[in-house]
Amino acid sequence: MPAASDPIPPDAEVAAPDSPEAAIDLVRTCMADCTPLIDYGDFHSGLGHPPASAGESTRHYRYRGRGIECFERDFVVRIGAGATMADIRTALGTHGQFVPLDGDDELTLGELVLHDVWGPMRIGFGAARDLLLGVRFIDGQGGDVRAGGRTVKNVAGYDLSRFIVGSLGEMGLPCELTLRTSAEPAHVRMLDLALPVSSSVDGLMPELLATDAAPAAMALERGEGTWRLKLTYFGEEGETRHQVTALEKWLQQKGLIGQTADLVRHEGGFDEYRQCAAAGRAWQREATTLLKLIVPPALTGQTLDELYRRVEGAGLHWLAYPAHGTIWVGGSANGEQVHALEAHGSGAAIAAVGMKAWYRRPEYARKMPPFAPPQPDWPLLARIKHALDPHHLFNPGRMLPLKERGDG
């Protein structure tokens, strides 16, 4: 079922610049004819307000440049924004390296960065904001902006590289991204721990992360009628064995293994981890309803339990990252569930001074605000957008208020 807010009409022409020069030409064309440029991504088309168009027409695009230049000895890679995660994995795999960002194979790096896509490996490696060293993007005046560079430390100029992470394509058209890479781990051990209630994790995180058992990847999922904490360790075989032993001892001290007697272990190579992680989030691609909540990390489990109870969430999928306070919920929700998610999701976000965002919702739910509550920095971000994109070409109104919309 198509997303409720798929902004590309079926018969629309989609521009496909494949170089920075072609992207500059496209932007200048749009400047000349005052046509907004829309790219909500192939996997995030339901996120945000529908495109606000200056007139009747909009122009859709996808950046297709996908060159990959690996600076092997520096553990740095420069990538065209149109390259997919599969392209990147293949190119870096020949050097025994990888970019430690969880993203589906078909996802382009540009879409990943603009929507700040991340997953279980964030706990061990960080997210795009921590790995990005430089960005080349085209601004709303057709300018060729090159922020950051190839070095792992760089404080020259404003950090526009990190600034565009999560910017939902409103600040510019990224063409090239330079990131740090890591050595592909030799060995992987994964553990799957059943928990009676998700709030069990809330008190555990600060201590777990300070032990020898601090994982390289972690996620909390609902599966087989129970909550399951999935922990992954990367390294040499002896290193992962040591960490898993440390984890088991710690769980015994906490009384968690005795209660559940359900600790499933896997081991293998990095590909096994990738496949497990992808399987854990596969439901998100098919979901007709997809909601993200952000709360302080210590409230993750409590929020999950409460929301699950209120939404009668047995038929839905639940995925959380308890070290970061991020919760994903969705699937094929019925009308009652959608309204309950909106009401209680917004309530939880507001109570925790966090945030809620609809990534996908049915057509009848289109009037629900895509983001809640309004964020304190939106007015300033709107000024910055006007500075970088004075003609409001790039995804206008997707998140930041436009005066003509009458938004706050």
């Binding site: 553990f75 792992v152 404003y158 300070a210 920095d377």
Partner: protein, 490 residues
């Protein structure tokens, strides 16, 4: 004596007489930061203690057409906290309140003037009180005992642990700041580790006071390392030592720190402190690991094997805290040792791709010879962040000019090999003339437009970080050793 400008009385009305300096002999201390070549006398220095006072001060200063210069402890190394062109320094050093330590969410909220190590000490005390795991604020610039967290954020400070832990921006969750028009603005401002939307805290980090004044921050806390190991190795050549750095990372080991000194620096340190290093060694490498004991012991062995493979002469692996402290003191006291051999020194802060280190050090040496200067090197090898130390006599105008020109030549070369003019010290006024060589016109124009979005009137530290059409600061050499230096403002 009456105050020389009406702003003084207005500032006194906001913060009280005791929190405003305006007499010349009191202001001399504030005419430079850690980069003494750049000197400018402020009109006044004001010490607010609350955000609303910062806002009121900024508003008055801006209304008078004066420059607002944000300053923490004044440990900056690029002249960013120096007042030119009728500037008033807004010093946050008295905004020292730690507002909340939230160990459950691994975060802390502080005013901008809280000292870097003071936060970690407070967090340690709180963890002990609660009998929980030890956490700390990870950014560790060498100035950390004096520098403020607001200043660390404003310069996106680094340190020797950035290889593993990242620079300051990776440890900032949210920022409150005051704009020149007295608006108090916040990014997300709770202990949230995720967000949706552009990364505005990242834009504030490294902005060097040119967007506004940072007043409060939510800081991310990380587990304090418990188990530490240090490896010390000497090599005949710098190239061999650099290969060990690259091979270590290629082996999947990410040390906490990797520091290097060249042959000249080893001589200087050995002469000064007698650590027992072989003075003829080509390079000295210090590597620190932290993590689970069993793992770092095994990694230490692997690194030692890599070092032997590249011809290391002496190798020492140690866990003993006293011996580790002694080894690291050699690195930390390196700059201090320079005082025995040179009247003055100037250090650069370029960052280059790590693989280019050997070539870069060689070229830096050549540049030194071209300008008749001795240059020693100590650097963050894991990051590619070089700190060539140019030795000179600041009473000799020829040497001063040569130092400035040699510094530019070094930076120009580093740009040419894919590097940056500053890895951690900032642009300030010191390197602003290099910005057009680092960035193309479109990028500089984007920077200018972003700056104007925050500060349309150009009141916040103009002439720093981003070249300005309206205000150009040109550094002059001091007329004599005991005469204050200055700057020409256009």
């Amino acid at each position: 004596m009456d105050p020389p400008h009406p702003i003084i009385e207005q500032l006194c009305g906001i913060v009280g007489d005791d929190n405003v300096l305006w007499q010349r002999d009191e202001l001399v201390v504030y005419e430079c930061d850690g980069f003494p070549v750049a000197r400018g006398m402020p009109m006044a220095v004001v010490f607010p203690t609350e955000t609303h006072q910062v806002a009121a001060c900024a508003h008055r200063i801006s209304n008078h057409g004066l420059q607002i210069i944000a300053r923490g402890s004044g440990t900056g190394l690029a002249g960013g906290g120096v007042a030119f062109d009728r500037g008033v320094i807004v010093c946050t050093s008295r905004m020292r309140r730690i507002e909340k330590i939230d160990l459950a969410n691994r975060a802390a909220c502080v005013q901008a003037g809280v000292c870097n190590t003071a936060l970690s000490e407070a967090v340690a005390a709180e963890a002990e009180r609660l009998a929980t795991a030890a956490y700390y604020f990870a950014p560790d610039p060498s100035s950390q005992r004096a520098s403020t967290i607001g200043g660390n954020a404003a310069t996106n400070a680094g340190g020797i642990s950035t290889l593993k832990r990242g620079v300051t921006v990776s440890h900032i969750l949210g920022i409150e700041a005051v704009l020149a028009d007295e608006t108090i603005t916040r990014t997300r401002f709770e202990p949230l580790h995720d967000s949706i939307g552009p990364d505005l805290p990242a834009l504030w980090c490294g902005s060097e006071g040119t967007l506004g004044i940072i007043t409060r921050l939510w800081c991310r806390l990380v587990p304090r390392p418990v188990n530490l190991r240090t490896l010390y190795a000497v090599f005949n050549s710098l190239r061999d030592a650099c290969e060990v750095v690259s091979d270590t990372i290629a082996a999947g080991i990410v040390p906490a720190s990797m520091e290097m000194m060249d042959q000249r620096m080893i001589e200087v340190v050995e002469d000064a402190f007698g650590f027992g290093f072989p003075a003829e060694a080509g390079a000295l490498l210090l590597i620190e690991l932290d993590g689970p004991e069993a793992i770092i012991d095994a990694q230490l062995e692997r690194i030692a094997a890599i070092a032997r493979g590249h011809g290391a002469g002496e190798i020492e692996q140690c866990a003993d805290p006293a011996r580790r402290a002694q080894l690291w003191s050699a690195r930390k006291r390196a700059f201090g040792a320079i005082g025995r051999i040179s009247h003055s020194y100037c250090t650069q802060d370029a960052c280059i791709p790590r693989s280019m280190l050997p070539d870069a050090i060689e070229r830096i040496g050549q540049i030194g010879r071209e300008f008749g200067l001795t240059i020693t090197n100590v650097f963050h090898a894991g990051d590619g962040n070089v700190h060539p130390i140019l030795l000179f006599d600041d009473a000799d105008p020829v040497q001063v000019q040569n130092v400035l020109r040699a510094g530019e030549a070094i930076l120009r070369y580093c740009i040419s090999i894919g590097g940056t003019i500053t890895g951690e010290h900032g642009v300030g006024v010191e390197k602003i003339d290099m910005m057009p060589e680092m960035f193309n016109a479109d990028t500089l124009d984007a920077f200018t437009r972003v700056r104007k979005a925050f500060d349309p009137a150009g009141s916040a530290n103009e002439g720093k970080l981003v070249p300005s059409d309206r205000l150009r600061i040109e550094l002059l050499k001091p007329a004599a050793p005991k005469s204050p230096g200055g700057a020409m403002v256009y």
